[in-house]
Amino acid sequence: MIRLPDPKPDVLARRDAVIAGLRAVLPDEEAVIADPISLKPYETDGLSAYRQMPLAVALPETTEQVAAIMRFCHENGVRVVPRGAGTSLSGGALPMEDAVVVGLMRMNQILDINYPDRCATVQAGVTNIGITNAVSDEGFFYAPDPSSQIACMIGGNVAMNSGGAHCLKYGVTTNNLLGLTIVTVDGEILHIGGEHLDAAGYDWLGLLTGSEGQLAVVTEITVRILRSPEGARAMLAGFASNEIAGECVDAIISSGIIPVALEFMDRPAIHACEAFAHAGYPLDVEAMLIIEVEGSVAEQDDLLARLTEICNRHNPMNLKVSQSAEESAAIWKGRKGAFGAIGRISPDYLCMDGVIPTSKLPDVLRRIQEMSDSNQLKVANIFHAGDGNLHPLIMFDANDPDSFHRAETFGADILKLCVEVGGCLTGEHGVGVEKRDLMPFQFAEHELEQQRRIKSAFDPDWLLNPSKVFPLRPSPLPQAA
């Protein structure tokens, strides 16, 4: 079980005063939650194996209210855990017993849409899909598309630098931002960047993105919006082995085509998704690629013909080129339902998020299978093949402590393997609490210390989202260098 720092006894002792202080700042009665039943939904996030009730939850509606909460908490030495929709798969929003959760879900307003300058400014609690929905009538979209995009909020996307299936072409969150409004730990409001590109000075926008709530609370975000392509179409190709599918991925990248998506599924993933979604996936293949291209119908035809020819050089066992939007949707249906599909065949699963050099895929999948055998836990692999982001889904039973323990060990071993072959611990889910104690596998102690010093520059007393990202020191808090 994950270790959390000891709560501050003085803060626990002043619980009623802290709640009263929050209520003074947020007069709306329902904006401060303190009773155990109403607090219950906030005790965990997308990594539901870990639970911890917070001291209280505050639900501001404006940047100024966030600033007032932060000022109050700072003056009173109270820790703060920012939270969006609570969809983090790494426990990024896991509360602490002595912490106030600042939930940003009421900050759900779209503040400005500027088509000529191709940007939109929204509050942190707007959902990812909410941005695209707001601009789709004009033919625009917001590019990063994490699987949880219906629920997850843009503030959380910024905190985790979220990706998605289409980032080979369009980049991840950090590549699609122009500006932020942030609140510092002591309640100061700052505007970073704006509606223009590449602000001079240090790249605070880049540093804050993916900082997992360690540096500041993000309240408003200016994103780039893009015009949608004329159209998009998918194809799928099944192969006799992971190696052959991997070689086909190499050949596609070498051909000069940048598919907008290039997804790889192994046999267990194909079977689980097909049983769940009836997407028409081939069940006799070992590996399958979903490839999507964009452009006019003629351009799609041309690109799909080129891709078909490349696939044909790798003896596909199955090849299906979509002829319509409906057929493309069918091809995606299975992949997009992958989490639900695994959830149906296993009571619980852990979704891992390592990254590997794509050339190592066959070797890594072989070693994952060996670990699966020795841990006696099933695993299905989904892979963003264009960028090397591997999502092994480890199936276990949370009611069986031994099964959970083996799943955690298995997951950690996969991530260590990712680092060993030249990759990293996390591509888009973040470190959170989940991978915190694995950080020494990727960074030397003096490198972690350097990152801690950057955090201390923003948050000298380590009040912001503590116990995440950085391995706890053996000694008690404070952690600051």
């Binding site: 980032c167 000075g201 790249d203 015009r227 351009e299 050099p357 050339s359 960074f443």
Partner: protein, 392 residues
């Protein structure tokens, strides 16, 4: 993290330094921002060469002192390119062409016309190794295309002008270079009409990868000069797509007299635009880059009377050249502020560089964070002091 011999050498120099050091690659950008008062120089001259190139993984790593053209050549051999299209500004900043280093373009985060669609240098830095001002060798990121493990210090180092550490090795995401390039040329528009056309083009589904407006005196400086203002819109893709898209967009934009340039002419043209060749600059002029939201570009040009300039990035990047005086600089600052944007003094005599804010000053709260971050990386203030902000 095992330090290489060259990194250990740099770390030793930093540890031994008692006075500030000027951080230098090939020195091609030493005219940017503020001059550095330093007792010695520390450089990346001993750090040259490509250390890893995996075309199928869209990744290249090289030591910071590697000449950029060496990297571009290696990529071209595999039909790939640097996504942000970094410029060679030797025509403006002095120094021989093709000498700038990879470390130089990353430390200054300089990007070319493609930035408007495909991101800046900072967007494609996947990994960095550096020796900090604490004389420690650290890395951030890695050699894979997606990585959110820990704080993104790659972003912090990129564009930090050598003030936080000496970058020793950089890993970049690269992409296949397009088969063909095409350009729509619309002659005769004023700045406002041009930005409207460029916004329509960049907001079209045709994947525009460059949009620039040159007033007549800038257009006259192109390798194939024009005799009046031109709006240039670029599409890069497979040849058939370039033909289809340029023609479709030309018709949709609906400007009589719009023409299409072929592949060879387009490549020459955009290389010149990339390197800011059109900027009407005379010896002794100051040079500024102002970044604003695209619709504010024409206003910035109009507000700064005296300097000449042009618009890149669909109107969002304003290049300006004019008298290197405080009066001009104040006008540039005021125009950028009014538009909610940012400015960079690219070139001026040292007296002006020392006297003005070469980039926008930060509000006090952020400036305090900046100071603490600088202290976290370079506690003794050894590296390039005063390069970006006076007294830092």
């Amino acid at each position: 993290m095992i330090a290489t011999e060259a990194e250990s050498l740099i770390a030793g120099q930093i540890a031994a330094a008692r006075e500030p050091l000027l951080v230098r690659g090939a020195g091609t950008k030493s005219g940017m921002l503020r001059p550095v008062q330093a007792a010695g120089t520390i450089g990346t001259a001993g750090l040259s060469g490509i250390t890893l190139y995996a075309p199928k993984e869209l990744i290249i790593s090289a030591l910071a002192g590697t000449p950029l053209h060496e990297i571009e050549t290696a990529l071209a051999e595999h039909g790939q390119h640097l996504i942000a299209e970094p410029p060679d500004l030797s025509a403006l900043l002095g120094g021989p062409r093709d000498t700038q280093t990879l470390g130089g373009v990353v430390a200054t985060n300089l990007s070319g016309p493609r930035r408007v669609a495909w991101g800046a240098m900072r967007d494609h830095v996947m990994g960095i190794r550096a020796v900090t001002g604490r004389a420690e060798v650290i890395h951030s990121g890695g050699r894979v295309l997606k990585n959110v493990t820990g704080l993104d210090l790659c972003k912090l180092f990129t564009g930090s002008h050598g003030t936080l550490g000496i970058i020793t090795e950089i890993t970049l995401k690269v992409l296949p270079a397009s088969e063909a390039t095409g350009t729509i040329v619309i002659p005769g528009l004023d700045a406002d009409a041009a930005v409207a056309a460029m916004s329509a083009a960049l907001g079209s589904p045709y994947g525009v990868s460059g949009a620039v407006w040159l007033p007549a005196e800038a257009a006259a400086r192109l390798p194939e000069p024009f005799d009046r203002s031109v709006t240039l819109i670029r599409i890069e893709d497979f040849a058939a797509s370039v033909s289809y898209r340029t023609e479709k967009l030309r018709v949709e934009l609906g400007h009589a007299g719009a023409a299409i340039l072929d592949d060879a002419a387009s490549r020459t043209l955009w290389r010149a635009v990339r390197d800011a060749i059109p900027l009407p600059v005379t010896d002794g002029d100051g040079i500024w880059r102002v970044s604003v939201r695209p619709s504010c570009g024409p206003g910035v040009l109009r507000a700064v009377v005296g300097p000449a300039g042009y618009l890149d990035w669909g109107g969002g990047l304003v290049w300006l050249a004019g008298p290197a005086t405080e009066t001009t600089h104040r006008a540039v600052e005021a125009a950028a502020r009014l538009a909610g944007g940012t400015w960079t003094l690219m070139r001026a005599p040292d007296s002006l560089r020392n006297a003005v804010d070469v980039v926008p000053p930060e509000p006090a709260v952020l400036a305090a964070i900046t100071r603490r971050v600088k202290e976290a990386m370079d506690p003794r203030g050894i590296l390039n002091p005063g390069r970006i902000y006076a007294g830092l």
